[in-house]
């Protein structure tokens, strides 16, 4: 064993020296007028699809803006680091990005990691604009804002929509117990459903990462005679559920939130029929008719191997354009100015951004107010209802 410790000690010293001095190399870009925007999210691991989407969506926005000559002569640069959905690694990633000269942070893609990052961003006083961190605390400080809905908003809006517009009264919920997003929506949904006179006949949980078999949950749905299944979950698991629901002979409609967006892509061409009749409340639909969305979907597909963007990609895209809008509003033309942070943060509550995910304005709380569109999937396309 002694021999090994010998090798190891050598490597350790090298490690420390290498990381210790890596600070010196990073700040090279700072003197140019290039704004380094730092993104953090899972690029590996079970949740990597969300991180990758945000990264790709944001990259397209950065490319577009730079191609158009930047904003006020400022060019954008996106640096994106992996956090494996782990808060500690997210903080490490944040600090790496700070070493690399980050001036604006996209927080983190997942809520838990994002909340940990808000603490750091608060100390540095930089603008944090998370595309998809939906827990309340993701915007707990004055410098923190978000693009997506908060979980409580979605839960309430979904219950209202179902009660006001649909005939179903007996609702079953299948939600992800290990996911804060899913739990957050479910809690609010249940509360609002009680107010609106909806009956929750089944509340079935699963654990993402460990679940591929939903037969027990679906059997419960069937046994309780639910008229609608509410799926406040991500498309990845929803694809499994839809497939197994068909085999189990469940014909009731499914209703989801923004997490369900991208379900067609997840199902793949062979299985798209499974999504027929699925309704979702989403600020973004890849099949929307407006030129902005069409253009985005086209560019995204060209750049990323035919992939179809989901709501995470759209959130990432919108986040970059929001930063652009804030810079314009504040009239910043030098990113190294001492008052850069205060100016851009102040501008956030004044801008109105017409993004892929709707028209957004921000208040002091940091939450975006925007409308959700209810869409229904019919024959592989999203139809507004």
């Amino acid at each position: 064993m002694k021999k090994i410790t010998g090798i190891l000690s050598l490597v350790m010293v090298l490690t420390i020296i290498a990381t210790g001095f890596s600070a010196c190399g990073g700040n090279g870009d700072a003197d140019k007028n290039t704004l380094v925007i730092g993104g953090i999210g899972p690029l590996t691991g079970d949740y990597s699809t969300y991180g990758v989407s945000v990264k790709q969506g944001a990259q397209i926005a950065v490319d577009e803006i730079n191609a158009a000559g930047g904003v006020n002569a400022i060019k954008f640069e996106l640096k994106f680091e992996d956090d494996e959905t782990d808060a500690t690694k997210a903080v490490n990633a944040y600090n790496t990005l700070m070493d690399d000269g980050m001036k604006v942070s996209l927080g983190a893609v997942t809520s838990g990691a994002c909340i940990a990052v808000t603490e750091e961003a608060k100390k540095d006083g930089i603008l944090l604009l998370t595309p998809s961190g939906s827990q309340k605390e993701c915007t707990q400080y004055d410098n923190c804002f978000r693009i997506c809905f908060t979980d409580p908003q979605q839960g309430t809006v979904s219950a209202d929509y179902i009660a006001d517009n649909l005939t179903a009264k007996k609702i079953a919920i299948i939600y992800d117990k290990s996911n804060d997003y899913s739990v957050g929506i479910t809690d609010k949904f249940v509360a609002e459903a009680a107010v609106k006179g909806l009956e929750i006949v089944a509340k079935q949980a699963f654990t993402s990462g460990t679940s591929t078999d939903f037969s027990a949950q679906l059997q419960q749905v069937k046994d309780t005679g639910a008229e609608l299944v509410f799926l406040p979950i991500y498309a990845k698991e929803a694809a499994f559920i839809l497939k197994q629901a068909k085999t189990a002979g469940i014909a009731v409609p499914f209703f989801g939130c923004d997490g369900l967006d991208g379900i067609l892509e997840k199902l793949g061409t062979d299985n798209q029929a499974l999504a027929n009749g699925v309704m979702l409340l989403t600020p973004f639909a890849a099949d929307a008719d407006d030129t902005k969305t069409k253009n985005f979907v086209k560019v995204y597909g060209e750049k990323y191997n035919g992939q179809v963007p989901d709501q995470f990609a759209a959130d990432g895209y919108d986040a970059i354009y929001t930063i652009k809008a804030a810079i314009e509003k504040a009239g910043i033309n030098d990113i190294n100015a001492a008052d850069f942070n205060t100016k851009i943060i102040d501008a956030m509550t004044q801008v109105t951004v017409e993004g892929l995910t709707g028209t957004m304005v921000w208040d002091e709380s940091g939450d975006a107010s925007k409308d959700a569109k209810a869409v229904k999937i019919t024959d592989g396309t999203y139809v507004a209802i």
Binding site: G6, A116, T118, Q135
Partner: protein, 329 residues
């Protein structure tokens, strides 16, 4: 004569840690440390504490457990809930150490609850049962209200820093090395080497197994509390079996029963994926390759002769052999 050797060996271990601490401190004071390095210090320290304590079970007691993250999580939640409750009442200097002790003790209690039934099992069976306990703990934490469930526990004061972690590392090192070199430690090692012979000498196997388990759990709990005080959010999802495996990787890489090895391997395993950030997409792939390569280098006899010549450790061994040869002659 023997005692001296032992003391020197331990002092070198302490010396390495102190030197590394001073080196990094100087970097930080002189402003040469990158933000990234500074952020990594607490996680590295935590892994040192976790690995050194797990080494007590895996390396010295010779039992395989995959539940270390479970102890870390109960400690973290206990300590953080306490800290949140008394955040306004007690000053940090009292609250934080108290939280660590509470977290450690709660982990101990779980160590006893789990240890009493499962320590009858051996090898892979013990491994799977400890893994199962870790997963049960996590599953329950997610389903409880007061732990914040899946959303996580928020509002723990962020009191952890590099200096506190350093102090706890030193305490862990001293306690574990002293324990190992004491009567109880010898008994623990004897169970690893030959359980039946140990029984024939009247050594109470169950007691010492449990002792090792509980002491390791204590430090895992303390590490959990520090972890909880390092971030503003505590989520149960980080304490899954992969976390336990990560600590096990450190222990095995550092050498079972080698405390110094655990310390050094903790630095490497924590820092490696961070250092590989510049490789972007290839990061985890390279990490996996490096991990396999390190294990092969460590464990394969084919490489033994190269190891002997090509590194500092080998040099030390060579010198020592010469010295003892002289003494014997």
């Amino acid at each position: 004569m023997k005692k001296n050797n032992l003391n020197i060996h331990n002092l070198i271990t302490y010396g390495i840690v102190v030197a590394a601490f001073l080196f990094v401190s100087i970097l930080v004071w002189t402003g040469n440390a990158s933000r990234h390095l500074q952020a990594m210090l607490v996680p590295i320290g935590l892994n040192i504490i976790l690995a050194v304590s797990l080494n007590l079970i895996v390396g010295f007691l010779g039992e395989l457990t995959l539940g270390h993250a479970g102890f870390m999580s109960v400690g973290a939640y206990a300590g953080c809930l306490f800290a949140i409750k008394y955040a306004e009442i007690l000053p940090t200097a009292v609250r934080f150490p108290l939280a660590m002790i509470i977290g450690g003790l709660v982990a101990c209690v779980f160590g006893i609850i789990i240890g009493v039934p499962v320590l009858r099992l051996k090898g892979d069976y013990l491994a799977i049962v400890t893994l199962a306990f870790g997963e049960i703990i996590r599953s329950i934490i997610i389903n409880l209200e007061f732990t914040g469930g899946a959303s996580g526990l928020k509002g723990t004061p962020q009191n952890s820093n590099f200096y506190i972690v350093f102090v706890v590392i030193m305490i862990t090192l001293v306690v574990i090395t002293n324990l190992v070199n004491s009567r109880a430690g010898r008994a623990i090692c004897s169970i690893r080497d030959n359980r039946i012979a140990a029984e024939s000498l009247g050594i109470n196997i169950t007691y010492y197994k449990l002792l090792a388990f509980v002491i390791a759990a204590f430090f895992a709990g303390v590490a959990g509390v520090i972890y909880g005080h390092n971030l503003s959010i505590l989520q149960a999802s980080v304490f899954d079996y992969n976390r336990s495996i990560e600590i096990l990787v450190i222990v095995v890489l550092g050498g079972m029963g080698s405390i110094r090895g655990s310390v050094i391997a903790a630095v490497i395993i924590t820092a490696l994926p961070e250092m590989l950030r510049s490789l972007a997409d290839y990061r985890m792939l390279i990490y996996a390759v490096v991990l396999i390569a390190m294990m092969l280098l460590n464990g394969s006899q084919k490489f033994d002769k190269y190891k002997g010549r090509m590194n500092i450790g080998g040099l030390f061994t060579l010198l020592k052999n010469k010295k003892s040869a002289k003494e014997a002659g």
